[in-house]
């Protein structure tokens, strides 16, 4: 027996409120991050990820207050991503009670930020989020490129090389999202997941495309993921966290009960 494969529900937060709602949890206010986080804790989630999608920089302080409130009442690991530009942003979120901070666009603009942040707060607190899209032309070996701005802007950076570089710069974990699969519900891009998990020594969270419980298991068994992240299948009550764990355990994947 060893580490359990983590199941991580991901919530979008805009101006301090959970958006797109969470329908299955028996909670009074589905927009309240504390209620939602408490509900997922009680449902057996191994970790919670908040993605701050607030566009206005005026509202950036709001996420710090959200983290403070959640961390005061919910005692499981909390990852926060979105809008991180400087080591100071990382420190503020950690001091507010986040355990890990996700860096995405800022790492592409200035890779050194990942090194500075991990030197300061430790690798285990730094998650680099990779948004990757297939750019394979007919007849070529499969390869993927890093995109920013929600998959709209290409960077010309090869995803596997980027993953290796970020691990080398001190990332403690990678959050890998397939922009081809995100929102499609047809399952993870397993080829991409496998390419990244085999290239790095650090844990990889698979994300993007989950539509059923077998997709979660496939991410681990065929993609080599250390954790699986999903949003809609949990938020809308199609499946519970416990059902996801039972399904994975039945295929020999170690889970936490």
């Amino acid at each position: 027996m060893g580490l359990a494969t983590r199941i991580i529900p991901c919530l979008d937060v805009d101006a301090g409120r959970v958006v797109k709602g969470v329908r299955f949890l028996d909670i009074r206010d589905a927009g309240d991050p504390v209620s939602v986080a408490r509900g997922y804790n009680e449902a057996g989630a191994d970790e919670i990820t908040f993605l701050d999608i607030t566009a206005s920089s005026d509202n950036r302080d709001t996420i710090v207050h959200v983290v403070e409130e959640v961390a005061s009442e919910v005692f499981i690991p909390l990852t926060v991503g979105g809008g991180i530009r400087a080591v100071e942003d990382v420190r503020r979120l950690l001091n507010a009670g986040a355990d890990k901070v996700g860096i995405n666009t800022a790492a592409v603009h200035r890779p050194q930020l990942v090194r500075e942040a991990s030197d300061k707060v430790g690798s285990q607190c730094i998650v680099v989020a990779l948004d990757a899209k297939s750019v394979t032309a007919p007849g070529e070996a499969p390869h993927w490129e890093i995109f920013t701005h929600g998959g709209r802007k290409g960077t010309g950076i090869d995803a596997v090389q980027w993953a290796v570089r970020m691990a080398d710069y001190g990332a403690g974990e990678l959050l890998l999202t397939s922009m081809d699969r995100d929102g499609t519900r047809v399952g993870f891009d397993l080829e991409l997941t496998r390419a990244i998990t085999e290239a790095v020594e650090i844990p990889v969270i698979a994300s993007g495309g989950v539509g059923n419980l077998q997709h979660l298991a496939d991410g681990v068994l065929h993609g080599g993921a250390d954790a699986v992240l999903a949003a809609s299948i949990f938020h809308f009550g199609e499946y519970t966290i416990a059902e996801a764990k039972a399904h994975m355990a039945a295929q020999g994947i170690e889970v936490r009960w």
Binding site: G2, L3, S72, P77, L94, R256
Partner: protein
Amino acid sequence: MQRIAVIDYGMGNLRSVSKAIEHVADDAEVVVSADASVIESADRVVCPGQGAAADCMAALHSSGLAQTVIDIAGTRPFLGICMGYQVLLTASDENDGVQCLDIIPGHVVRFADPLMDAGARLKVPHMGWNEVRQARPHALWRKIEDCARFYFAHSYFCVPDQSSVVTGRCHYGLEIAVSIAAPNLFACQFHPEKSARDGLQLLRNFSRWDGQDR
């Protein structure tokens, strides 16, 4: 009303720790403090910590709190968490070698690279929920089942010189001593403040612990 001090030496997530203790110890006033006199007058002391060993030790020394920890460890119930466990040992290999507080003889070392287990490569950091085997009975294990899972996030681990101090072990490529105890001292590599029900139970146990090493 008892007072529990959480040592603030400028490193790490103090809020989660203090809130978790408040959550389980309603008979306690929890104070986060960098003031040696406040820490010395508390009934219980918690030393958390996060970040690199060199920074943590530098912060402990520059704040003057290194001596405070040395003075009070063993004089009243003391709980070290994560880096707050590692700094209690003699020295750490992190950052090309760092002298620690040497309260518990032993060393802090990095996981092997690559770290292998039964032919499979394990990821480093050791990140997530792993089973903790209770190496010996202890008041802080009260109402916690053997092999309960706790949350870990670390790349370095403690190797105490004497196995008699070890209270908890975990398997991750090799056996690691994830918790230790001595009179009035308990320290753990995992994060009880992030380990849901069982972690909160450990903190509740700490808030009631008489300090005896059993």
